[in-house]
Amino acid sequence: MPTHTFKLNGQQVSVDVEDDVHLLWVIRDLLKVTGPKYGCGINVCKACTSHINGKAFNPCSVQVKDIQPTDEVTTIEGLADTAPGGGLHPMQDAWIEKDVAQCGYCQPGQIMAAVAKVKQCKAEGRDVDDDAIEELRNICRCGTYNRIREAIKAGAENM
């Protein structure tokens, strides 16, 4: 069985698994990092959203063979370490401040997507406004969308 290695939340990890297994299952079932959630497995619900080299992606739709040893994968568990200071990422703080989460199942993906969207907007010189937020496709079945909007705007100010 092939060995795959990559950086996960700042640590180099190795795992023996077939090439075609999707990264979500490698992370969740084999490496036991359970922040990214399964909600559809077909890159639709976005509950597994994580970062690869700082950009949002969905590990349900990437085979482990396509991940390089130098690739840095960050899940919600590693997000705080990507921000300066010893606390949480500003987006996580905003999420707590606005009491966004209801059941919490989709929220790791929501936060990871939000951080990437804010970075994208800033890089492109766009405002983080309702139009930008409406590009996010993450589903929240509890329907806390309006607090998500507030938190993204608040979090963006501190990023």
Binding site: V26, Y38, Q102, C103, N146
Partner: protein, 786 residues
């Protein structure tokens, strides 16, 4: 104005409110409870019936008072609480040596925030900080009989008083123990944050005192509860206690648990709804696929266990199975509707020149949560342990025991926090299935439904028709009849037993479960003369359950559309008409506040309109005003893999729900309910075709997304002198549905006759095949980064 907010105004309601709700009577009452024998202090509660009577007739000149309807006197909340009453004294609060207080809540939290609100209730009574109260979800406790059901928005209503009684007893015992220890009169002691202090500053902690306050033998004690005027925690907004865990990935859901040897397990299911396997052609071959450990044929499909879910999915899709037909083989939307039409009950009041009639169809909708059905099961020869989200864990435990051929107490059911429920987790399909698969494989399993199974084979909100006839004179409504005809909503033992057990207490006599539920929940809140509401259900073999209520959102949609038509016939404004015909002053107050907050009657552009609707349930009253944009530019917006259509641009939601424990949490529940209302009315439905549901995932089933949600949302929680909390979880939906439907009719001039509005539009997707059953994961995820 903020986009949404809980009200901060603390205006006092008029004097008659206090009389009406009998607040002074409650504060004088003493409650009976127990101190339970032990080495630490454990207090338990028993409680007696509180009286709530808020029926104040408010007749307008024209409004013909309707005779009282059942929910005015005795509703579903009462039924579930009364069923819970005989065993509620088993609710226990324990004071720990580390200065915390613990309580195992016999309810299921799937995001409603009831763990946080329960911490607040206990902390209030014991003068603690809510963080000092540790609330967990209780394992299935069969001795609680009916009192471990989470449903019908009844949790806080049914647990508020017994929890307070137990906490008050504990607080009193600790004070007595401190007084004895300090040689002081307890009247001079103060208790704050788990420390009891005397006037000289000497202090003892709850942890120091718990052993001294413990009872050598169980004894009954009487206690008075804290006066509401002294509340410092209840009624103050509080962030959820697990907010940090949820944003850091620490919160564990069932499939996140690491139980030894409980490997990922998925079922291969039939193309037909509820089809089952006759034979499998390639079992041995699939068993040798990479990562796969076990493949066995079971009742509902072929179970595959392996090292990763991804490998299980590949194996499921590789299976060659001969399937038996399902329970609705060959059926489609039209054939189901035809059966419903044949079962419709007649309207009684004669049709005349003053009659207004409405006939509405509500298609199937999915209550699938983002966490799919899941459970971990470890079945051994003489015992079984189950982990899973469950709103009726006692029933789950009993059913699983029966299926495994074990006594009920051989099955341990650990109730996990769920990733959403909305009614889905009233049932325990995955837990039952996991137990059977674990038994068949002789190994622990972590069973999860695939998204496509959860959508296509999972429980649905039943398809229904709702017919209404109103007889209207020059200035009054003389009769208002509702006939709701629905695909049967399945009852499970956990839900149906308390309802049937309590049904005899209600004035309605001895009805069946569904009819009882309908009668206990449906209420026409207007003075419309002879008001009748009847339900007929047809069992057609669907897997059904509630979805943030069963009947109310649909009945409210139909009812409020008819109310607008009656108002139009009488030449009255929709808000003014509702206000004049509202059955109670309390309802009128909510309507008036909503009209003011929502700027009712403001000038709206062509193709846009406001809509208003009222719904009364859960010991409360809600009024929603929406602004809906039906202009072509908005309706025809193009977003890939999405439904757009008419957009709700603003929601004003005003609710009087009695005593509010946590306004922040309550507002969150309304927000979720409002977004559900959008989905149910505008975009979300299942299409039945050739014996199966077409929609396989979120790119087919269009729950509200960011591009649908209202940019502006103003949630106002009215101040209330009511001594008790009402319901929350389902209370945001029905009024929203009604308001959107009315706004659509006003914006377009067309009264909609089916819901959701886009159900008959061409499908904006190519359906996934039903065989193989699980759409394979794409591999191009590195091309869609941002």
């Amino acid at each position: 104005m903020p986009n949404h907010r809980a009200t901060t105004t603390r205006e006092k309601p008029p004097r008659e409110h206090s009389r009406r709700f009998g607040q002074s009577d409650l504060s004088r009452r003493r409650f009976l409870g127990y101190v339970v024998a032990g080495t630490s202090l454990i207090a338990a509660a028993e409680f007696t019936r509180e009286s709530i009577s808020d029926s104040v007739p408010n007749a307008s000149a024209a409004a013909i008072p309707s005779t009282p309807q059942t929910p005015e006197i005795y509703d579903l909340s009462d039924a579930i609480r009364d069923a819970a009453r005989p065993t509620a004294n088993l609710i226990r609060v324990k004071v720990n040596r580390d200065n915390t207080v613990s309580f195992a809540l016999p309810r299921s939290d799937n995001g409603q925030g009831i763990i946080t609100s329960t911490q607040m209730i206990i902390a209030e009574e014991m003068n603690l900080d809510p963080d000092q109260v540790i609330v967990t979800l209780a394992d299935a406790r069969p001795e609680l009989v009916f009192n471990q059901l989470t449903g019908g928005s009844t949790t806080t209503f049914s647990t508020y008083t017994p929890i307070r009684v137990a906490a008050a007893i504990a607080a009193g015992r600790l004070l007595d123990a401190a007084a004895a220890e300090m040689g002081q009169d307890k009247a001079v002691l103060t208790s704050r944050a788990g420390t009891i202090t005397d006037t000289a500053g000497k202090a003892l902690s709850f942890g120091d005192l718990t052993a001294k306050a413990a009872a050598p033998v169980t004894q009954a004690v009487q206690v008075a509860l804290k006066d509401r005027e002294k509340f410092t925690i209840i009624g103050k907004p509080r962030t959820k206690s697990d907010a940090r865990d949820m944003v850091t990935g620490k919160k564990k859901f069932t499939t996140d648990l690491q139980i030894a040897d409980a490997l990922p397990t998925i079922l291969c299911r039939a193309p037909d709804l509820n089809g089952y396997p006759r034979s499998v052609q390639n079992l041995d071959q699939v068993r040798t696929m990479p990562g796969i450990t076990d493949v066995v044929k079971v009742e509902g499909g072929v179970a595959v266990r392996g090292n990763t879910y991804g490998q299980c999915i590949d194996a499921v899709n590789a299976l060659k199975v001969t399937w038996a037909n399902g329970t609705v083989h060959g059926a489609d939307d039209a054939s189901v509707l035809k059966e419903l039409r044949a079962a419709e009950l007649p309207l009684a009041a004669p049709k005349g020149p003053g009659s207004l009639e409405g006939d509405f169809v509500f298609y199937f909708r999915s209550n699938s949560s983002l966490e799919t059905n899941c459970a971990i099961a470890d079945v051994k020869a003489n015992s079984a342990t189950i982990w899973g989200p469950a709103k009726s864990p006692i029933a789950a435990q009993a059913e699983i025991a029966k299926k495994l051929g074990m006594p009920q107490n051989a099955v341990t059911f650990h109730v996990m926090q769920g990733g959403g429920s909305f009614g889905r987790k009233l049932f325990f399909d995955a837990a039952e299935e996991a137990a059977l698969v674990s038994k068949a494989m002789g190994k622990p399993v972590k069973l999860m439904w695939s998204r496509s199974d959860d959508s296509r084979q999972g429980r649905v909100h039943p398809m229904a028709t709702c017919r209404i006839r109103a007889n209207v004179t020059a200035d009054a409504v003389t009769s208002f009849e509702i006939r709701h005809t629905s695909v049967a909503t399945e009852g499970n033992p956990g839900l149906s037993e308390p309802i049937t057990a309590a049904a005899n207490k209600a004035p309605l006599g001895n009805l069946g479960v569904a009819e009882s539920l309908f009668e206990l929940t449906q209420f026409t809140p207007y003075n419309f003369g002879a008001s009748t509401r009847f339900l007929n259900e047809v069992d057609m073999g669907f897997n059904t359950s509630s979805m943030r209520n069963i009947y109310s959102p649909d009945v409210a949609t139909a009812r409020e559309l008819m109310v607008d038509q009656i108002a139009a016939k009488l030449g009255t404004d929709p808000y003014v008409f509702r206000s004049e015909f509202a059955k109670q002053a309390r309802f009128k107050a909510v309507l008036d506040r909503a009209a003011q907050e929502g700027d009712w009657g403001k000038s709206m552009a062509d193709g846009t309109a406001q809509g208003i609707a009222m719904h009364v349930e859960y010991k409360g009253c809600a009024v929603c005003i929406v602004e809906l944009d039906c202009t072509p530019a908005t309706v025809n917006r193009k977003i890939r893999q999405a439904r757009t259509g008419p957009r709700v641009t603003k929601v004003t939601y005003v609710v009087d729900a009695g005593l509010i424990i946590n306004p922040r949490g309550y507002e969150a529940q309304m927000m979720g309910g409002i977004n559900d209302g959008l989905a149910m009315t505008l975009t979300s439905s299942l299409h039945l075709d050739d014996g199966h549901f077409v929609e396989a995932s979120w790119d087919n089933y269009f729950y509200t997304r960011q591009w649908n949600t209202p940019p502006e949302m103003n949630i106002v929680i009215m101040d209330s002198d009511a001594p008790e909390p009402g319901g929350a979880g389902e209370f945001g939906v029905a009024a929203t549905c009604g308001a959107i439907a009315c706004a659509y009719a006003r914006a377009t001039g067309k009264i909609p006759t089916y819901f959701p509005l886009d159900h008959k539009d061409p499908l904006p997707f190519t359906p996934y095949p039903t065989s193989p059953p699980i759409p394979p994961s794409p591999t191009n995820g590195l091309q869609t980064t941002f």
